[in-house]
Symmetry: C2
Subunit: 369 residues, 2 copies
């Protein structure tokens, strides 16, 4: 078997704060054992990819040339990312494509010529390597585009409800809820009978969620927001929240309202209610600090949430059930929509980069190498 030549996007941060994101040629060695080589056909730009691709670098003021972006990273981030200094890091968590080469192992050979979806990293490329055991073969009739986002969002949405069950809560609040992920969560909660409060930021997003049948949709841009939130949390008795925004006061406001609901009708306690209130921050759409006013008693937790360690906590059986459900409902519950499709070259133009880096809900990009 000959070497496999391709192109890929890499992101390199140098100690002087220069971030270079560029398209480079590379050569893959022949796959061994369970490895398969995938010709990438569709790969989404998720917020979790943007953290590695650009991080908090100033893309607005970057220099753009064909196949190359050079930007300045703020000093605190340069220091925080010392471990990646000087390394050209491949980007792109997940995607779908066709297996064009495979190692000797039977499970690898079995995928030759098949269309698969996978989550190996380095998918912003014409060719990527994955472990055959971690690939899922796409069902007949499912396109690469339909299968490109089969891991990050679907497993995250399903893990939210499993985390809720794992920790003994019964209803959820979700922010930035009109995202692809948020729409999946609406459908999962409908199917599973889980009360869900969706927080969005404008009328268009309210319309998207109402359009797919969401019952509780609250708009944080409205003057009545806190009252609306109190009514929705009162109706659902939600005590757990998943927040994609991170920065600002929203998490604190959610906990405050949960505490008010828990206290309504109860006797006064200077320490607040004993009702557990748990907010998970799983994203950073707003990179500013999280501000907690702590006017919600002492029975509360605010925690970071990340898919991989939580799948570990939930256990192999639950994860296998989640993966099966994703494949069965890939074009229904777990369908994603994209604002634009770009090639690898186009992804590095100013026009595209500024738009997808804005991380606006409902404006996700798909790379079709």
């Amino acid at each position: 078997m000959t070497d496999l030549q391709g192109q890929r996007i890499v992101s390199q941060l140098d100690p002087d704060g220069t971030l270079t994101v560029s398209l480079e040629d590379f050569t893959l060695p022949a796959p061994e054992g369970r490895q398969v080589v995938i010709r990438v056909e569709a790969t989404p730009i998720n917020p979790s990819d943007l953290g590695l691709l650009f991080g908090p670098a100033d893309i607005e003021k970057a220099e753009f040339s064909p196949g190359r972006i050079v930007a300045k990273m703020p000093d605190p981030a340069v220091r925080a990312m010392a471990a990646r200094h000087g390394a050209a890091m491949p980007v792109g968590n997940e995607g779908a494509g066709t297996v064009v080469a495979a190692g000797d192992a039977p499970e690898a050979q079995a995928l030759l010529g098949k269309r698969v979806t996978c989550f190996p990293g380095g998918m912003y490329a014409t060719l990527a390597v994955a472990d055959a055991a971690m690939c899922l073969e796409l069902p007949e009739g499912v396109t690469a585009e339909q299968g490109a986002s089969a891991f990050v969002n679907p497993l995250t949405a399903l893990s939210f409800t499993e985390t809720m069950r794992h920790l003994g809560h019964n209803a959820l609040v979700h922010t930035a809820a009109a995202s692809n992920l948020g729409q999946m969560l609406v459908k999962i909660c409908q199917a599973d009978g889980i009360p869900l409060v969706n927080i969005v930021r404008n009328d268009a997003q309210v319309a998207i969620l109402k359009g797919i049948g969401a019952e509780h949709v609250v708009d944080s841009s409205k003057a009545t927001f806190l009252d609306d939130l109190a009514a929705a949390i009162g109706a659902t008795k939600a005590t757990m929240a998943f927040d994609a925004i991170g920065g600002g006061k929203l998490v604190s406001q959610i906990l405050t309202v949960m505490e008010q609901v828990a206290n309504s009708g109860a006797a006064y306690s200077r320490y607040g209610s004993n009702s557990p209130k748990h907010a998970f921050i799983y994203g950073a759409l707003d990179l500013s600090p999280t501000v907690l006013t702590r006017n919600f008693g002492f029975s509360w937790d605010v925690s970071g949430w990340l898919l991989t360690p939580w799948m570990g906590k939930l256990g192999a059986e639950v994860v296998e059930k989640m993966r099966s459900r994703v494949m069965a409902e890939l074009t229904t519950t777990f369908a994603s929509s994209y604002k634009a499709r770009v090639t690898l070259d186009q992804a590095l133009t100013k026009e595209a980069a500024l738009e997808y880096n804005a991380r606006r809900t409902g404006e996700k990009y798909l790379i079709t190498p």
Copy 2:
């Protein structure tokens, strides 16, 4: 048995924001069943008492008259405390005194004439009622003053190390660490071989803790604070913190340093380390918001911590062990020191109230009714 007449301090918040803290006469009915009536001899003013006594009311500008303080509560607090509007609430969590009346139950009768310590609330009074089963008889030779603080601080300090074990951590960080509680924690950790990082705010507090043999003491007022903290967390590998301050950036800084220590020498991950980092906020010496910069990956928890629900989580066996240890070590590990002793009347003077409400470490007041 005749009625028992006494005096007590009550705190009343009216819907218009007027907070009245006053000394009132009251009459106790004869005790029934397991109830005992205690002639209060010593009761400390803990930060947890100040929340009910004054909360965030403006004591600086209050009107003081003999046995009476009238202050203005800020509007947000007035709304948050709607459940206590109009109620004259007795104050004082814990204290020690002599049992002067008892109900019929044998365990109550057995305490008649005995000196006990207890945690029933309403101890800022000449007489208080408690459940005999919740009273601990003070050992021979232990004074009421020595036994006055046998619950809140000792059980809290012991619960910190039990919470640490319960959640699988091995070393601790503690803030405002020169407090009575902090000194108890130093002694417990010394005895139990638990590495402990103490964060204090000035040289005098460093000296207090060094004087009782604390190994890692870091002064947050120094320019080298973050480096000193990194060295101490690096040496102890502490991954859990208990914070009495609440407001500001300190909790965030602790988590950031824990993450740096976890990452030193590790390969770069855009999501941060998988090392769990847990900060508990158990006090509110600073009432301003908690500000989390979130530059510590996604494996972190910040939680409220309160003694009573955590004793429930730790279980009856652990709690019984803690209570026995407190009684055995009341004048050594769990000795408290007080800056001043005041009567109920004196506690309501401007001079005293301003000083103890400042909640300065090492300036605790004891009421001796």
